[in-house]
C-alpha cells in the first residue's frame, strides 16, 4: 500500500516537472481541489456534417491537448442532441498526432448535435468548449461518384443506342473472326476423312451465356455438316441443352433441304456429374475417333482431359470459352481457340441478334474510351514526370480526377 502511494506521488512529481518544463507560453495548468494537475483541454473543435451520406454521420476534428505528448490516457467525445445533455459516445486513444478526427456514425438524420471533447490523464478530465450545433443531413447525390455516373452513362448509353440501331435494321459491322473460318475447314476435313464431328457445348446449363453462344455456333456448324453430308455427334450433360441442341440441328437440316438425314440420336444426354460425363465422352472419342472436336462453351477442369484425348486420337480441335482458367490449356492443346469475348463476338456475328450485336458495339465504345484515355493519361504523366509543363500537369490532374475513384 505505502509503496504504491509513494510511487504514485513520485509519478505526479515527475509529471509536474515535465509539464512545467515543456509548457511554453501556454495556459497555466489548472489544479483541481485535490491538488492534482488537470490536463489542458483540446482546442479548435470542428464539427461538420459528413458529405454525401445518408444523413447518419457527423465528422468531428480537434487539435490535440498540449499535454498529449506528455502522456495522456485519451479523449472522450461527448455529444448532445438538440438542447439535451452531453453523453459520452466514444473514447479515442492518443496516437501522437497533431490533430485528431472522429466519425460519429450513430446520429439520427435531421437532428442537430453539439459536441465536446475532453482529455483524460492521470490528473483528471478537462473539457473543451462546446462546439457549434450541426445537423446530420443527407445529400441527394454523391458528388464524389459523379465520374462513375458519367462514364456509366456513356457506356450504358452506347449499349442501348446500338441495340436500338440494330433493331431498326441498320447493319452493324463486325470484323472477321478467324476462328470461324477454321471451323468451316475443320468440318470439311472431317467430311473428307469420312469420320464424325464431335461437338461439346461445355458443362453448364442453358442459363449460361457461353452455352448460348455455343448453341448459336452449333446452328452454323450443323448447317455446314448438313450441306457436306457429314456426321455430327454431341454428348451433353444437361437435359435442357439436349432439347435445345436437337431443335437447332433439326432446323439446320431443314434449311439445308435434307430433313430426312436428321435423327434425334445425334444429340444424347449422358449425365450431370462432371467427371462421369468426361469419362463417357473420353470413351466416345477413343471408340469413334472423330476427325474434328469442337469444345465451345463453359469448361472447368475437364478441358484438360478432353483436349488431351483429342490430341491422342489426332483430331483437329477448335475450342472457345470465356473461362480464363481453362483458356491456357485450350490454347496449348488445340489447333484454334476462340478467346473470351471472341466466342460471344462469333455468336453475335452468326446470329445477327440485335441484342448481342448492340452490346458488342457498345462495349467497343467502352474500349475505345479506355484506349483514348490511356494514351492521353500516359502522355500527360510521362511529360510531367520529365519536364513539369504546366498544361500537362493540369491534364494529368484532369485525367486522374476523371478515371480514378478514390
Amino acid at each position: 500500500m505505502i509503496f504504491g502511494k509513494s510511487l504514485y506521488c513520485s509519478f505526479i512529481i515527475i509529471a509536474c516537472f515535465f509539464t512545467v518544463a515543456t509548457a511554453q507560453n501556454e495556459a497555466v495548468a489548472t489544479v483541481d481541489s485535490v491538488g492534482q494537475i488537470l490536463p489542458q483541454p483540446p482546442g479548435n473543435i470542428i464539427v461538420a456534417d459528413h458529405k454525401y451520406d445518408n444523413g447518419g454521420i457527423i465528422d468531428i476534428a480537434w487539435d490535440r491537448s498540449p499535454d498529449d505528448p506528455l502522456g495522456i490516457d485519451g479523449y472522450n467525445i461527448y455529444r448532445a442532441c438538440g438542447d439535451g445533455d452531453f453523453e459520452i459516445v466514444a473514447f479515442v486513444l492518443p496516437g501522437g498526432m497533431e490533430s485528431y478526427s472522429f466519425i460519429d456514425d450513430k446520429v439520427e438524420r435531421g437532428e442537430s448535435y453539439r459536441y465536446k471533447i475532453s482529455v483524460i490523464s492521470s490528473g483528471g478530465e478537462s473539457f473543451s468548449e462546446s462546439s457549434v450545433s450541426v445537423r446530420g443531413d443527407w445529400e441527394f447525390f454523391d458528388l464524389d461518384k459523379l465520374n462513375i455516373l458519367i462514364l456509366g452513362i456513356i457506356v450504358c448509353g452506347s449499349v442501348i443506342g446500338f441495340i436500338f440501331t440494330a433493331r431498326a435494321g441498320r447493319k452493324l459491322f463486325i470484323r472477321k473472326i478467324s476462328g470461324l473460318e477454321a471451323l468451316e475447314e475443320a468440318v470439311g476435313r472431317a467430311t473428307e476423312m469420312g469420320r464424325p464431328i464431335l461437338f461439346i457445348p461445355g458443362i453448364l446449363d442453358m442459363d449460361d451465356v457461353q452455352t448460348l453462344a455455343a448453341i448459336t455456333i452449333l446452328a452454323r456448324v450443323s448447317r455446314i455438316v448438313a450441306d457436306y453430308d457429314s456426321k455430327i455427334e454431341m454428348p451433353v450433360s444437361r437435359s435442357l441443352v439436349m432439347t435445345t441442341a436437337r431443335e437447332t440441328i433439326k432446323n439446320s437440316y431443314l434449311a439445308a433441304g435434307r430433313p430426312d438425314a436428321y435423327y434425334d440420336d445425334m444429340v444424347h444426354y449422358v449425365t450431370d456429374e462432371q467427371f462421369g460425363y468426361v469419362a463417357a465422352v473420353n470413351g466416345i472419342m477413343v471408340r469413334d475417333k472423330p476427325a474434328t472436336c469442337l469444345y465451345l462453351g463453359a469448361f472447368f477442369a475437364e478441358s484438360l482431359i478432353l483436349a488431351e484425348t483429342g490430341n491422342y486420337i489426332g483430331a483437329i480441335q477448335i475450342a472457345g470459352t470465356a473461362r480464363p482458367g481453362q483458356l491456357p490449356f485450350f490454347v496449348a492443346a488445340c489447333d484454334y481457340t476462340l478467346i473470351g469475348e471472341e466466342l460471344f463476338a462469333a455468336s453475335a456475328y452468326l446470329s445477327g441478334d440485335p441484342k448481342q450485336l448492340g452490346s458488342l458495339k457498345g462495349q467497343d465504345v467502352g474500349k475505345f474510351v479506355a484506349m483514348a484515355a490511356m494514351i492521353i493519361g500516359t502522355l500527360a504523366v510521362t511529360v510531367v514526370s520529365a519536364w513539369q509543363f504546366k498544361f500537362f500537369g493540369w491534364l494529368s490532374d484532369l485525367m486522374y480526377s476523371m478515371f480514378s475513384t478514390n
Binding site: 466514444a90 473514447f91 456514425d105 450513430k106 488431351e308 491422342y312 480464363p324 482458367g325 475513384t405 478514390n406
Partner: protein, 307 residues
C-alpha cells in the same frame, strides 16, 4: 540414410524420364497410367526424403509483410476464409501465417468467411495455431470469430456500411455489442487491413470490388495459384500486394521465420511443400519437352514422307 534415398529416387526419376524419351522417340505411345504412377512416385519420394529449400520473398509478397510490420499496434485486421478443403494446402498456410503475424504485432483480429467450408477451417486455425501459440490472446479482446454468412457479394455490400446489420452475433451466438473488439467498429471501413484468403467466387476479387474500392480499405489478397495471375491488374493501387499459391505462402512463412525468433520452430507447411513442388515442376517440364520432341520428329518424318 536420407541422402542415399534422395539419390536413389532421383536416379529412378531421371532414368524413367530417359526411358520415356527413348520410347516416344521410337514413336510409341506411353500409357497415361504409367505417367500417373510416375508423378505419384516423384512427388511421394520428395515428401518422404524431405527435400527442403530456402526461400526469399519477392517484392509483391514483401509489400504485404511490410505493410503489417508498419501498422501501428492494435490495428484492426480482418481475415476472410473464402476457401474450402480443395484449396486448403495452398491457402490455409497463408491464413495461418497472417494470424501469427497479426497477433505477434499486437493487432486485433477479426475472422470471417464467405464460404461455408471456411468456418470449419477457421475453427482449425483457432484450435491448432491461435490457441496453442498465443495462449494469452483473449477471445473478444484480441480476436473474434464472426464465422460464415451466406450471400456472397450481398454480405460484403452490407458489412461495408454496417457489421451489426449482417452479424448480429459472432459464431458462438454472442451479441456483437458485448464484444469489446466491436466497441469502435461499425463497418468494414473501420478495418486497417483486410486479408481475403481464397481463390474462387466469392473471393479476393469480390473483396476488392465490394469493399476495397468503395470503402478505401487496404486489401492484401492471399490467392490460390489458379487465380493469382488474374488479380495482378489490381496491384498496386487496389491491392497493396498479393500472395500467389504455395510459393507465396512459403515466402511469407520464411519472412516470418526470419524476422521473429518465436516462429523458428512452428510448422511451415508451405515451405515443406516446396520440395515436392519443385520435383513435380521438373517432371512436368520434362514431359512437355519430351512430348514436343516426339511431336517435331513425327512432323518431320511426315514431311519427308510427303516429299
Amino acid at each position: 540414410m536420407t541422402n542415399i534415398g534422395v539419390y536413389i529416387s532421383l536416379l529412378l526419376i531421371f532414368g524413367g524420364l530417359l526411358a520415356i524419351l527413348i520410347y516416344s522417340l521410337k514413336g510409341r505411345d506411353v500409357d497415361r497410367r504409367i505417367i500417373f504412377l510416375f508423378v505419384l512416385f516423384s512427388v511421394a519420394s520428395a515428401i518422404i526424403f524431405h527435400i527442403e529449400f530456402e526461400e526469399s520473398a519477392t517484392p509483391i509478397v514483401k509489400k504485404v509483410f511490410e505493410f503489417v510490420e508498419n501498422l501501428p499496434p492494435e490495428s484492426k485486421i480482418l481475415i476472410s476464409f473464402d476457401f474450402d478443403p480443395a484449396m486448403k494446402p495452398e491457402v490455409h498456410p497463408m491464413a495461418n501465417a497472417f494470424v501469427r503475424h497479426a497477433l505477434v504485432k499486437g493487432h486485433k483480429l477479426y475472422l470471417m468467411g464467405l464460404w461455408p467450408q471456411g468456418q470449419a477451417l477457421m475453427t482449425e486455425t483457432i484450435e491448432y495455431v491461435l490457441k496453442p501459440e498465443f495462449p494469452n490472446a483473449v477471445y473478444g479482446e484480441d480476436y473474434v470469430m464472426l464465422g460464415y454468412k451466406a450471400g456472397n457479394e450481398g454480405v460484403l455490400n452490407v458489412i461495408i456500411t454496417d457489421f451489426r446489420k449482417m452479424y448480429s452475433t459472432d459464431a458462438h451466438g454472442t451479441s456483437l455489442d458485448s464484444i469489446p473488439l466491436f466497441d469502435d467498429v461499425k463497418s468494414a471501413k473501420d478495418m486497417d487491413l483486410i486479408f481475403p484468403v481464397g481463390g474462387g467466387k466469392p473471393g479476393p476479387k469480390e473483396w476488392i470490388l465490394f469493399v476495397g474500392d468503395p470503402g478505401n480499405v487496404p486489401i492484401a489478397p492471399g490467392l490460390a495459384a489458379v487465380v493469382a495471375p488474374l488479380i495482378y491488374p489490381y496491384y498496386p493501387r487496389q491491392a497493396i500486394g498479393l500472395l500467389g499459391g504455395v510459393k507465396g505462402a512459403a515466402e511469407y512463412e520464411s519472412e516470418l521465420k526470419k524476422n521473429y525468433k518465436e516462429f523458428e520452430n512452428v510448422e511451415t507447411p508451405a515451405l515443406q511443400m516446396m520440395g515436392p513442388q519443385t520435383m513435380a515442376h521438373i517432371v512436368i517440364m520434362a514431359f512437355i519437352v519430351i512430348g514436343n520432341i516426339g511431336f517435331f520428329r513425327a512432323r518431320r518424318r511426315k514431311w519427308q514422307e510427303g516429299n
